[in-house]
């Protein structure tokens, strides 16, 4: 049995409902102006969002304690990379304790998807994902980052020292 509901007098008058709604808007506006609640909006250039330490940003090549690059050019990251954006050129070192080292280590940031697989694949903690988010650039700018930019850019303040030490590694027999 269907019931037809007729329009009552209270429903047909729409003006009270409009003022009720405007009252809620005015209340929220005053509360926001006084500052009793936190605003969701981030005023970007003035205040910056704090990302977690696990954030996957632009890459970092770590260094040894003496300042040379930790990477051993084992090519695990370049093989594992799903976007194939890493190119490594290896060379023989004059130092007898070092087997080989990368002459050039380049990451094409236009191809990179920042998945973090290179960080997972690396056995000696040579590649890390940094805290800075990726920077935009004009067409024709330098997007292929080399060792100078990956390991010794000014944001890193002289380079980040790797956790894995060469002598401890030899003692453990790795």
């Amino acid at each position: 049995m269907s019931i037809v509901k007729r329009v009552e007098a209270n429903d047909s008058w729409y003006m009270p409902a409009i003022f009720k709604g405007l009252g809620i808007t005015f209340k929220n506006m005053v509360l926001n102006l006084v500052g009793k609640r936190e605003m969701i909006t981030l005023n970007y250039p003035e205040e910056k969002y704090e990302y977690s330490p696990r954030f996957k940003g632009s890459h970092i090549l770590t260094v040894k304690k003496d300042g040379s690059i930790r990477c051993t050019a084992c090519m695990l990251c370049a093989t594992y990379c799903p976007a194939e954006c890493i190119t490594i050129k290896a060379a023989e070192s004059e130092d007898p304790t070092v087997e080989k080292f990368p002459i050039s280590y380049e990451i094409d940031t236009l191809r990179c998807v920042y998945c973090g697989f290179c960080e997972e694949a690396c056995p000696v903690d040579a590649v890390r994902m940094g805290p800075e988010w990726q920077m935009p650039g004009i067409n024709g700018a330098n997007f292929v980052y080399d060792i100078k930019q990956l390991a010794r850019r000014p944001q890193l303040k002289g380079g980040i020292v790797s956790v894995v030490d060469e002598e401890e590694r030899h003692k453990a027999g790795i």
């Binding site: 981030l42 969002y49 998807v113 988010w133 067409n139």
Partner: protein, 158 residues
């Protein structure tokens, strides 16, 4: 006299404010980040950009993101031809910059379809990176054809 000069300068800069209206052609997961820009978290209108545009004829900046197939490329060309005045294109994300996030031969680059002004690398990039890209555009804007006259006049004022 100094205040007169400054007021003239600001008036001339306001004439060139046309490039602050943005048309979005987004698909894929980068569109979530671009929508986040327009929402209350990163309010783009707070910085003076108009984003609620339905017609590309009113816009001057085009933001493209997502995987581009030949059918979508035709639509991008259609929209680009309708944009008036000095045009600028921003490519957002790894898909539109270099075919697809992973290595395969399918898809098109945006550079095959249009001349791109600014790249925003990342998969997907942060909303702050897209704001930085739009601000970069304003710095490069001085080299554009119609705004060359305006910025030349500003320089002559000193």
């Amino acid at each position: 006299m100094v205040s007169l000069k400054q007021s003239l300068k600001s008036f001339l800069q306001k004439l060139d404010n046309k490039s602050r209206s943005i048309y979005f052609l987004t698909q894929g997961c980068c569109s979530i980040e671009v929508d986040n820009l327009c929402s209350s978290n990163y309010d783009l209108q707070r910085l003076g950009y108009t984003i609620d545009i339905d017609d590309p004829r009113e816009a001057t900046v085009l933001i493209v993101s997502g995987w581009i197939n030949p059918a979508f490329a035709e639509k991008i060309k259609e929209v680009y031809s309708q944009i008036s005045g000095d045009k600028a294109v921003i490519a957002v994300g790894a898909c539109s910059i270099s075919k697809s996030p992973y290595v395969d031969e399918n898809g098109l680059k945006l550079t095959d379809v249009l001349p791109v002004d600014i790249y925003v690398p990342g998969c997907p990039p942060r909303p702050e990176a897209i704001i930085e890209a739009i601000r970069l555009l304003e710095k490069t804007k001085e080299n554009r054809e119609t705004s060359k006259i305006i910025y030349g006049a500003i320089r002559e004022l000193g």
